[in-house]
């Protein structure tokens, strides 16, 4: 049995990684980040409860609990807020194109697909930005990420004659702008 100085509530077991422990009382988070989370969860509660005032006596404890858990689980996220609307617009337009593209290929009598697996070297830092990029790319036209590594992506493309690289690059740039981080082009190629 292991002895801990502060009893952890949950431990994270991953071979190869240093074991992570969660203790909601010992976390580092800035007040601005906490305020954003409280605001976000209050909005979700407002939406769920349909604006019923009597719901808040159970809502406030729930929101506080959710905030504590989220501080323990999610490190502070810093987004460039004025980039958010542009990103949403970009995402909506491109995912509509993605849906149309795949719908056209599925419904076309000859089913024009030419799948291939390509490797895309990443220029954004590991962690949330890369995961966010993966999720975005998965909803965009013709591209499906089959492996995320810190340095590169393996991407399954639906049509190898289309240049997926340009699409991926533009997503990466958007994500970098959203998170306010520079792209690193001196990365070693896989």
């Amino acid at each position: 049995m292991r002895e801990y100085h502060v009893s952890p509530v949950l431990t994270y077991q991953q071979p190869g990684l240093e074991e992570m422990k969660i203790n909601p009382l010992k976390t580092n988070s800035n007040p601005r980040d906490i305020a954003v989370r409280i605001l976000l969860f209050s909005t979700i509660w407002l939406i769920l409860s349909g604006g019923d005032l009597s719901s808040w006596w159970i809502g406030i404890p729930a929101i506080l609990f959710a905030v504590i858990v989220s501080i323990a689980l999610i490190p502070p996220v810093s987004l460039v807020w004025f980039e958010v609307p542009a990103f949403i617009g970009f995402f909506l337009i491109r995912s509509l194109a993605g849906g149309t593209d795949v719908a056209w290929r599925a419904l076309h009598p000859r089913m024009p697909i030419a799948p291939d697996l390509v490797v895309y070297p990443l220029h954004i830092p590991p962690g949330l930005p890369q995961v966010f990029m993966t999720n975005t790319v998965n909803l965009l036209p013709g591209t499906l990420i089959a492996e995320l590594n810190p340095g590169f992506l393996k991407v399954h493309v639906l049509d190898k004659h289309q240049n997926a690289m340009i699409e991926l690059q533009s997503v990466e740039q958007r994500v970098a702008r959203l998170f306010g981080i520079p792209l690193q082009f001196d990365n070693k190629k896989p």
Binding site: R2, F41, S55, A62
Partner: protein, 316 residues
């Protein structure tokens, strides 16, 4: 207007036939994985059927337990089965003699006919006990008739259900539990997914708990949503700390049943009837019971999924 009636009929007909067909294929599929996927789909359609039968309470429970957690539990059970047995296919049962088969057919069709008859002789226009429930809704402490029945009029049913859940965990533990096994390492995408979703699960569970007082929802739905959050954490590689597996876990598992029993004894002493709450306090008591029951149900479901005994070294 006629168009709508026709469409509703068509919808119900397709739904009913689809359910029957899925039930048939689920039962007779030799591939266990296929059967599980068919069962998950059956749960999805079943929830729709409850919606069409105007029973959103049960649709919500089916969505949370039937289509959600049961699927995950069955998939995990199948994985355990694969590691403990050599072949993935279930052993073929011996076919049985003609006499045995004939007897089976007679018995099964007899009970089917009996059930059919029982449904047939039901009076077609009756409100059942719904009039009695509506008449007493004011004193129940809940505005949703289903909650009033579950927590007040037939509170002992729910009390016994809590104990059944507890017995399920005790059953697994008394068999020594399953050997602890590490999860497949969670990749960054899954890790992020579960981290971001857990707070949403918490808010949704709290919402279902609150809304249960006057609309479909309540402890079982809230508990299973919260339990699903626990399952997601387990699947992403989190394990409860060693100290947490001792008395805090046991307290969380039993708190729902304990509160029910204490309230039952108190009401027996002061009101001369099991779980007959005083009218003035009924609302508060129901909320107390439901909140603690939510915690117990959530922890029970997550622990059932984990399946490990809290002290494996004791067994050796």
């Amino acid at each position: 207007m006629d168009v709508i009636v026709v469409l509703e009929w068509a919808f119900d007909a397709v739904l009913g036939l689809g359910l029957l067909w899925l039930a048939w294929r689920t039962l007779n599929s030799p591939d266990l994985f296929k059967a599980i996927v068919l069962f998950i789909s059956f749960g999805l359609l079943m929830a729709l059927a409850w919606v069409r039968l105007n029973a959103p309470d049960i649709a919500l429970a089916e969505a949370a337990i039937g289509a959600g957690l049961t699927g995950a539990l069955l998939l995990a059970a199948l994985a355990r089965l694969r590691t403990t047995t050599d072949n993935t296919m279930p052993a073929q049962l011996p076919a049985g003699s003609w006499f045995q088969r004939g007897l089976l057919i007679v018995l099964l069709s007899g009970s089917a006919a009996g059930l059919g008859y029982a449904v047939w002789i039901l009076p077609s226009h009756t409100s059942g006990l719904s009039m009695a429930v509506t008449a007493n809704l004011d004193v129940s402490g809940a505005r949703n008739p289903v909650t009033a029945v579950l927590l007040n009029f037939r509170g002992y049913d729910t009390m016994l259900e809590m104990i059944v859940l507890l017995l399920a965990v005790l059953g697994i533990w008394s068999l020594g539990g399953l050997p602890p096994r590490p999860e497949r390492p969670a990749v960054a995408v899954l890790d992020t997914f579960s981290r971001f979703l857990i707070p949403v699960f918490i808010l949704a569970a709290a919402y279902l708990l609150w809304v249960g007082a006057d609309a479909p929802g309540g402890a079982f739905q809230a508990g299973s949503v919260l339990g699903a959050a626990g399952v997601l954490l387990l699947l992403s590689g989190w394990r409860p700390g060693v100290r947490l597996m001792q008395w805090p876990l046991r307290l969380a598992l039993t708190i729902g049943a304990i509160t029910f029993i204490i309230l039952g004894v108190l009401t027996l002493l002061y009101e001369q009837q099991l779980l007959a709450y005083p009218v003035a306090q009924a609302g508060r008591m129901i909320i107390l019971l439901e909140s603690l029951a939510t915690v117990s149900i959530a922890v029970t479901l997550a622990i059932l999924f984990l399946g490990e005994s809290p002290d494996p070294e004791e067994k050796k």
